[in-house]
Symmetry: C2
Subunit: 335 residues, 2 copies
């Protein structure tokens, strides 16, 4: 038997532990072309909150009473596929459970010589690709331009800021604790960082951006975004990646309408999800791996130990508790 985590209630507002249930289930046996894997790392991500609601979005909602799924690093226990052998390390979108049986087409091997396995859930995975394509394809920062990123100490934001630095931009981060501010300035070399919880965001942002804002990489929405609009330069670009401040809203998310700001500055806002760029994942992964090997890209992980703490790790995202990528470590890799 093994443990699984099911969604048993659709959260109203902020999710709580009561919305989830730990259950016991048998471990399935792989058929021809299938592989049995043991879960090693589980990725917990803010976007999963959206999948817990009913209704159409860019990915289908989770079904009630079924196992939640996200990015998972796993190790092959038993293979009925010619493509995988015992102990291979693989990546897939797998269930929140200790073991999975998966078709050979549903997983891919990862190269742990290039980077530790968990990096394929962060800088070399969907997180890194989300940062890369939003910034490079939509944001298009040019040397000397001002790039502002919100959720700057988060998994995506911390990569965004570093890529912007690589591109020669002046980088301003917005984060929610002094520890995060210190990390972004001292470890990642951000030019300025604002603690939106202790500073007046309008004042501090204007001071941090004396030349206006050319790119705003949006991770949070809400009043932080509202403070950005009046500072936009002509032809500014806003990649809209996330709006975590609104994910748990029970009432309508209301703020200044953007049309006037966009017209005055001929600015662009573009929503996206990383899946829009699936045809270009190779390009993105190559760029990220190159910067990683050159030592130009650092990444931080907040690792929660133990499958039993998966829900806590997920809930902590909305308290802004994580620095860098939030990951649950379920088991050790065996060699």
């Amino acid at each position: 038997m093994q443990k699984q985590i099911k969604l048993v209630k659709r959260p109203i507002g902020l999710p709580t532990k009561e919305d989830f249930e730990f259950v016991q289930a048998p471990i399935a046996v792989p058929a021809e072309g299938e592989v049995l894997v043991r879960t090693v790392y589980i990725s917990v991500d803010p976007y999963l909150r959206g999948r817990m609601n009913e209704g159409k979005s860019y990915i289908p909602p989770f079904e009630l009473d079924s196992v939640i799924a996200s990015g998972v690093i796993a190790q092959v226990v038993e293979s009925k596929s010619t493509h995988f052998k015992k102990n291979d390390i693989v990546l897939g979108s797998l269930g929140w459970q200790e073991y999975s049986v998966v078709k050979e087409t549903g997983i891919q091997k990862v190269d742990t010589n290039l980077a530790p396995a968990s990096a394929y859930l962060s800088v070399l995975g969907m997180t890194g690709l989300t940062a890369y394509f939003g910034l490079v394809d939509i944001g298009q920062p040019k040397e000397g331009e001002t790039v502002v990123v919100s959720g700057a100490a988060g998994a995506v934001g911390s990569i965004v800021g570093q890529i912007a630095k690589i591109k020669g931009a002046y980088v301003v981060g917005i984060a929610g604790s002094d520890e995060k501010v210190k990390y972004l300035q001292e470890e990642l070399g951000f030019d300025a960082v604002i603690n939106y919880k202790t500073e007046d965001i309008n004042d501090s942002l204007a001071k941090a951006c004396p030349n206006g804002i050319d790119v705003y990489y949006e991770n949070v929405g809400g009043e932080i975004a509202d403070a950005v609009y009046p500072l936009l330069n002509k032809f500014a670009r806003i990649p809209v990646c996330g709006a975590i401040s609104a994910y748990n809203n029970e009432v309508a998310d209301v703020g200044p309408r953007v049309q006037g700001y966009l017209i005055k500055t001929s600015s662009l806002m573009k929503g996206f999800t990383v899946g829009d760029y699936s045809a270009r994942f190779g390009e993105g992964t190559m760029a990220l791996a190159g910067w990683l090997q050159e030592g130009k890209l650092q990444y931080e992980e907040t690792v929660t130990e133990g499958f039993d703490n998966t829900i806590d790790a997920f809930l902590d995202l909305f308290a802004g508790a994580n620095l860098g990528k939030a990951i649950v470590k379920v088991a050790e890799i065996e060699s």
Copy 2:
């Protein structure tokens, strides 16, 4: 002596006649390289409201106690330029006054064989180019897609809808009177038109767009735009041209924040002004003139007679009184 119109007070909210003053001034004498012209048609446009405020925008504000300026068609009275002769018909950004002295580089001749002179303030002028570039460059409608345009019976909106039809789109207009609805459906061939003043915009828009919305050409902002967002299709495009509903607001223009909608559908919003495309005006004018000559493009003008009624014509814009381009006829063309 001649009459001029000066801005004497910065309007608060909706402009009133008290914000303007008619004054008498001498008619200047052209120096070498200059031309004296008699005003024939004055273009009154919603965007001029923005120039009556203080503060930075994409064009500088009007100075207090100086003559207001906009697009003007004029006829040469006396030329000290080798490029112009008496009775030439010219276009320029000129003052709201009966006569102007202007440098030869500040005006251009218009071809009245191709279209009546006033068309160079509407379909063949900035209005037509605004419709063309916003729709073709940002909106990029494809055959069979649904294009929604607000302010549909206005100068820009009526051209947008017709170009969208030429491109093979299903075109839905939003306008503010039954007369306008009838004109758009019966004269311009829009597929559906909504009277937002008498219908529930959310219900009617959903019914008029059974396949969702691929392009929303934004002229008005406010609650009409709010009704569009939930209907956006994947990869929708929103050229943001104007937001006339907010131009006279004294309090902040507040509504649903757009980030969530843009992320869910990977949609784009892009503000612009026609000046962004100045390097491509030739392309736009050729396309518009071609469609006009092929009979594929109709245009309507609401002509107010007499210089003394210029302010009324401007104020009428915010009451939605005009069908097509609002123009003031100041004098007859002499031959």
